[in-house]
């Protein structure tokens, strides 16, 4: 038991959805984590200890009296009003959550920011003027900084591990935790925004069931249409880093399978896209958010070409909510 990793989890400026999502894990969660060598020291939503008993666990961890390994924070850091941290005083302690997190982070071997709020500020920082003074653990939107500062390193020598996503997929968290239990994680396994590459090396676009529509620029025009959501409905799947279309959500889903665009919830500042979420900003009819890795001239040329070559089936089905024109049956045998 004693070499098991001890995991301490706290929640602040967020919706609690990353924990709720975690509980959707495919397999019995507690047994899997225990089997992988991870024990919960305390989690506000799951643990038995309450009130003074819980505060004692946190105090011992923060003072160093009871060493622990992993600190998971869920929710943005609320520094307001006026730097006081009073927008979130940890219940029963009278002290700002930001103070608790700073003290605990200094003792943890690894610090995980669970969810985009915690990583970059997310929706909690999106109120005009940011009156909550919300920020991420080591980022403030796109910029480094945040509560712990750009130079922060946890005991194991790593920056904050940003499991970005709004919410996070349970697999992203579980696989990251179990990587730590397997002997750690090296900096090269994080991308340049601090996200575990085990899910952030892919683009959402990879494996999207709408790829055929994308190829022919056969685009959806209204919610529930089957076509590609990039041209009109704001899809950022060709730019957003995550494996949402190859790692199923809730057994069989993804945003795109669900019929709505990727709003790039794993990216810093996704919450303020500068345009309505469900519309694609365009200049002269061309989407301004072009696919990562694709020069604009190519895109324009390819789009024109593929539009001119769109099969009837693809064109028709793009504007319907279930296929109206079916693939033809080859009568001569497949070659």
């Amino acid at each position: 038991m004693s070499q098991n990793l001890r995991l301490l989890w706290l929640q602040s400026g967020g919706c609690g959805g990353c924990t709720q999502s975690l509980l959707c894990h495919e397999r019995p969660l507690f047994a899997e984590l225990a089997g992988a060598g991870i024990d919960f020291l305390w989690h506000p939503g799951l643990s038995p200890a309450s009130g003074p008993e819980a505060l004692q666990i946190l105090e011992d961890a923060a003072s160093g009296a009871a060493p622990f390994d992993i600190l998971c924070i869920e929710g943005a850091m609320l520094r307001g009003p006026a730097g006081s941290g009073r927008f979130h005083l940890l219940g029963g302690s009278g002290k700002p959550m930001t103070d608790w997190v700073a003290r605990l982070a200094a003792r943890a071997r690894w610090v995980l920011a669970v969810g985009s709020c915690t990583a970059y500020g997310g929706l909690s920082a999106a109120t005009p003027g940011n009156p909550l003074e919300a920020c991420g653990l080591q980022y403030e939107g796109n910029g480094k900084g945040g509560l712990l500062g750009r130079e922060f390193r946890s005991g194991a020598g790593l920056p904050v591990i940003n499991i970005a996503g709004c919410p996070t997929h349970p697999g992203w968290i579980v696989d990251t935790l179990e990587t730590l239990a397997q002997g750690g994680l090296v900096e090269d396994e994080l991308d340049e925004l601090g996200r575990p590459r085990l899910y952030a090396d892919q683009l959402v676009h990879h494996g999207c069931s709408r790829n055929e529509f994308y190829e022919f620029k056969a685009s959806a025009e209204k919610p529930s249409d089957l076509g590609c959501l990039m041209e009109n409905l704001g899809c950022k799947g060709t730019q957003a880093h995550a494996d949402c279309n190859t790692r199923p959500w809730n057994g069989a889903g993804s945003c795109l399978k669900g019929g709505y665009p990727c709003i790039a919830c794993t990216e810093p500042e996704f919450e303020n896209p500068g345009h309505p979420f469900l519309e694609t900003p365009k200049v002269a009819g061309i989407p301004i958010g072009l696919p990562t890795d694709m020069p604009k001239a190519w895109f324009v040329a390819l789009a024109a070409l593929s539009k001119s070559a769109t099969p009837h089936r693809v064109k028709e089905n793009a504007l319907a909510d279930h296929p109206r024109v079916l693939p033809v049956q080859k009568k001569t045998g497949l070659k």
Binding site: G17, L46, S84, H88, G92, K222, N250, G258
Partner: protein, 480 residues
């Protein structure tokens, strides 16, 4: 008089602090409920495109994310003057019901029952079995309940893309049309869920529990029956949980799950002595007297509501406003919904002894038993090839209200937009009702009232914990 501060109050959704003033006999003389976290979503929405609400409001709350979406979609549908298609309405019911039932399971297995594994109960005849089954993180029940909950939420993978935080709920319906095979998968998933409820939780057919019409019938049904809910009923009888946790005995429901014409559970306002009266939404107001928010000119209807921070305010002790109905505090939740819907067992229970821990938990179980069969019906009624989402156009100016039922009770969104931008957005969440602070007339909120008189000294059994959790609070919503 002495004071106890309970916090962080865990195994609730979000952060909570309860301040108790105890009398000489160590009983609660007065309770104050503090929601210690502020989130500010109502300001965040100002100036956004109206349809952006569909992306933003689910993120108010990770546990009732879909309920938020449905409220916003319904407020927008009002402003657009459209109605969801028949398939869209059925799919919305399925999605909302999946969330609500999953929340009931989380509440029972993860939040509520582990308190009975508390060492204070060592020595009760049921203690050993309860502790080994329900102890937090270690008990045997979670290993079964979490996969069952995840299974129910697999409906989201088919119908809503993902959970939480789906953009699939739209004013005109839903964005995901099911194919023939997916409809079969949804029905199979519902069968699996039924099997868990009947074998593990209830120990009987859903219909058998749903048909019980009196507390006596419930007691007879439960005697000696295997199953986690019957096990709870046995310990509840031992501890007298039918006598603990009464608040004001005034109950409100916005009505849930619209079906062609009438909803599955109707809207209304119910009191034990006066019975049912129709819901009068214009009677709703919010009072900021004891919140760290500007008082404005007294309580306001949410249609005209404002949310402006005043962090240094005399007499304030929470970030939560105090919603009132005709000036009175009231209780929302599964119990309220079932009382308004005329469930005879619960009505008799509340008429006799008032609302209680037992009544609130039993109401959730009855809902599981009543809603799952309805879900099977909605899934079977999905018509292949028919539209799921009606098109619509958003006017430049407009307003709307979306009144729905989340697992924890009545949720309302009030929206107004001008020149294509949101100019006002007000939310009243279920726990805002139940865990409200005092108001300008110093009336305690429902939980504050329910805690009065309970033993709460250092040696007391965890009754306060049971009462707080019997409401299934969600603080993230409360402090939107």
């Amino acid at each position: 008089m002495s004071r106890r501060i309970l916090g962080p109050f865990n195994r609730v959704e979000g952060d909570l602090e309860v301040i108790l003033d105890l009398d000489a006999g160590q009983q609660v003389a007065a309770a104050r409920v503090n929601s210690p976290l502020f989130r500010g979503f109502e300001q965040l929405l100002l100036g956004r495109a109206p349809l952006d609400a569909l992306a933003i409001v689910p993120r108010i709350c990770g546990i009732c994310s879909v309920s938020q979406s449905v409220a916003a979609a319904s407020a927008l549908a009002g402003a657009m003057d459209i109605r969801p298609t028949a398939n869209g309405a059925r799919a919305t019911n399925l999605i909302l019901a999946a969330e609500n039932l999953a929340d009931h399971l989380s509440h029972f297995y993860l939040f509520f029952m582990p308190d009975f594994a508390h060492p204070a109960y060592a020595g009760r005849p049921w203690y050993e079995a309860t502790a080994s089954r329900f102890a937090a993180l270690r008990g045997s029940a979670a290993g079964q309940a979490l996969p069952a909950r995840a299974g129910l939420l697999k409906l989201m993978g088919f119908l809503a893309g993902k959970w939480p935080h789906s953009l699939g709920l739209q004013p005109g319906g839903t964005t995901r049309a099911l194919g023939a095979s997916e409809k079969i998968r949804v029905l199979a998933q519902l069968r699996e869920c039924r099997a868990f409820l009947e074998t593990t939780l209830l120990g009987d057919r859903l219909e058998a529990l749903a048909g019980l019409d009196s507390p006596a019938a419930l007691a007879a049904w439960a005697a000696g029956r295997p199953g986690d809910f019957p096990a709870f009923l046995a310990l509840a009888a031992d501890l007298g949980l039918e006598r603990t946790g009464r608040a004001y005995d005034r109950f409100l429901s916005h009505g849930a799950y619209p079906e062609d014409g009438a909803p599955l559970f109707p809207a209304g306002f119910w009191q034990p002595d006066q019975g049912l009266t129709p819901l009068a939404p214009e009677q709703i107001s919010e009072d900021s007297r004891h919140a760290w928010l500007v008082d404005e000119e007294g309580p306001l209807h949410p249609r005209n509501g404002l949310t402006r921070v005043e962090a240094e305010k005399e007499g304030a002790y929470s970030w939560c406003k105090a919603p009132r109905y005709a000036g009175q505090p009231l209780e929302v939740g599964a119990l309220a919904r079932q009382l308004v819907a005329g469930q005879p067992l619960l009505q008799e229970l509340v008429r006799r002894q008032g609302a209680s821990i037992l009544a609130r938990v039993t109401a959730r179980m009855l809902e599981l038993a009543r809603v799952l069969p309805a879900m099977e019906g909605w899934a079977r009624a999905l018509e292949p090839g028919q539209a799921y989402c009606a098109p619509g156009t958003l006017p430049n100016e407009g307003q709307g209200a979306g009144l729905v039922e989340a697992a924890r009770g009545s949720l309302g969104h009030w929206l107004e937009f001008r020149r294509g931008r949101i100019s006002r957005y007000q939310v009243i969440a279920p726990t805002t009702w139940n865990f409200s602070p005092r108001d300008s007339r110093d009336q305690p909120g429902p939980l504050e009232k329910a805690l009065e008189g309970l033993p709460a000294g250092p040696e007391a059994p965890p009754l306060v914990q049971h009462v707080v959790r019997s409401f299934d609070p969600c603080m993230a919503c409360t402090v939107h």
